[in-house]
Amino acid sequence: MRRLFSLVCVLLAVLCLAACSDKHKSVPGGVVSLSPALTELICHLGQEDRLVARSTACDWPESVKTLPTAGDFAEPELERILAMKPVLVVSNEFVNPKDADALRQAGIKVELHPCDGFDDYREWVALMGKLLDCPREAESELKRTNDRIAGFEAELKSAQKKPLRALYVIWDSPLLTAGADSLPDAVGRLAGLENIVKTERGYPSISLEFVLKEDPDVIVWFAHGKDWKSNPSWSGIRAIREGRVLIPRDDSALLRPGPRIFDGIADLKSDLETMFSGKDSSLGTQK
């Protein structure tokens, strides 16, 4: 009887050890990220092991897809998160602000800050360095960020070209675009573009008549999966008629204020150069 009891105890101990060795297991010190950009940043800082859950929108790097989900982007599933017992939940915002209070009442630290531009990104990097106890990695990422931005600015200065006037299409019907101070606006500026929407902030829905009047040189098409050719109202826009529509190679790299953003800008810049030097006539056509 005593032997059997000892055997059961050993088996239970082995099972516990096996469960604990799973890196995605909810462990004290675990982090839940409900923002794709922050998930990318955490992984980039070498802290992927601390992630215990992600949002359904978090899909990069590929390895995070094996993590359990804890809600949609900015929409936490409270019960699931509470069951995971993380110490930290990070997101850019919550659709329902009361969710943050509920998590805080359960003793979970909640960090909610917007990330709409490079300054916000720098703040997040510094904060993550402190929260995840990886100051050296955070410092290195801050330096890389500053160097890349300075590099793009220097290239623009040396090229001495007039910026191309661009319309960023986030959605086609209604025409949702990126306004002044938005992330695509900041990204485009480093790639040599000038946003035609200057008076409106955020992501406004704008009129076609305004676009026709502004007559952009290029349209950067973020409306993934939407066909810009099938809408007859668009045919009056010269950039559409002349095929100057650029579909970013990976729009998630450009629309997420994360560590991949600088590679996205470099790709956008290179595609713009190809389009306007006429080297590749296939650019500007629907993929």
Binding site: P174, L176, I206, L208, F210, L212, K213, S230
Partner: protein, 320 residues
């Protein structure tokens, strides 16, 4: 005043509104730039299409509302009563949120039309006796069910998709395809107007109740179903084209009826033209007030229609 003179006045106002619709907008286009290099300026072309769309949508909603109010003998009746808005909303949201909008520009309008017609057919199928009152109640039930399902879809949607659904529900005449949407809607409106002019006497009799109409030789039940189906079809087509635009179908028939009496032969065309004018002016206002962002026309019709209607209501009461 004679009917012909009333129609002529309304026609002149409608033409003036149409000219304003082409002249004014988010940007200033001098008359000298209306034609550039032998072709029409794209901005002017865009204004012509949207002004024509506003006219057809406004007229259709007014005619539809006029029929609903007459047949149901209810001053609160409006074109979306028989589940049209809920069904169309569900169809459009389904197309946007389930990814069918990637099939092409016409997918959302077609799904909206399908939703509206399906909701309508469900009302007619579910209500056994098909009297005006029962159809009205059936419409409210099916509309509520469709709206609830729409809310479920919105709950599971992403923010970008939701913006599309919300904008569509507020109504806009900016993105109307002249060949595939506007032309068929104009033909339907013309056909419905001709039919209603011929049966205007029956509509007048139905306003006194089905028994009264029956006693005067009208098959009240059949005529009620035909008229409500026609009015719902008009509303369904406009909804698929421009989203849900409120107030036009409710307010315009009221105003025209108050001004010119209850004979439908006399007020049908004025109501259609008044609806066209109302929506053309609302569209111009939406473009001019906020040039870059542009106000959705449904928002303007509600903001303008509500106080105008209340003012008219109080004025006529004070007069009486």
């Amino acid at each position: 005043m004679k009917t012909a003179r009333i129609i002529l006045i309304y026609l002149a106002v409608a033409l003036a509104a149409a000219v304003c619709g082409v002249l004014f907008g988010a940007t200033r286009v001098p008359l000298s730039e209306f034609v550039q290099d032998g072709a029409l300026n794209p901005i002017v072309e865009l204004r012509i299409v949207r002004t024509a769309a506003a006219a057809v949508v406004g007229a259709s909603l007014a005619v539809s509302g006029l029929v609903f109010q007459a047949v149901l003998r209810n001053s609160l009746a409006e074109p979306y009563l028989l589940g049209v808005s809920g069904g169309a909303g569900l169809g459009a949201a389904g197309a946007i949120l389930l990814g069918f909008s990637a099939w092409g520009f016409m997918s959302v309008p077609l799904f909206a039309l399908l939703g509206a017609v399906t909701a309508n057919l469900l009302v007619f199928a579910a209500v056994r006796r098909r009297t005006a009152e029962e159809l009205l109640l059936g419409g409210v039930m099916i509309g509520t069910l469709a709206s609830s399902l729409l809310m479920v879809l919105i709950t599971f949607s992403h923010s970008r998709d939701m913006a599309g659904v919300v904008w569509w529900m507020l109504g806009s005449v900016q993105n109307v395809d002249p060949a595939r949407q506007l032309a068929p809607a104009a033909v339907l409106l013309a056909a419905a107007t001709v039919f209603l002019l011929f049966r205007a006497g029956d509509v007048d009799l139905l306003t006194f109740g089905p028994e009264y109409a029956w006693n005067h030789g009208v098959n009240a039940r059949v005529m009620t179903v035909v008229l409500l189906a026609l009015a719902s079809l008009l509303a369904a087509v406009t909804v698929s084209m421009a989203g849900i635009i409120g107030f036009c179908g409710l307010v315009v028939p009221h105003i025209v009826r108050r001004l010119h009496g209850g004979s439908h032969r006399k007020i049908l065309i004025p109501a259609a033209l008044a609806g066209a004018v109302f929506l053309m002016l609302a569209d111009i206002l939406g473009r001019v007030v906020s040039p870059v962002r542009e106000l959705p026309v449904g928002m303007v019709t509600a903001a303008v229609g509500c106080p105008v209607f209340l003012w008219l209501l109080n004025r006529s009461r004070a007069g009486s």
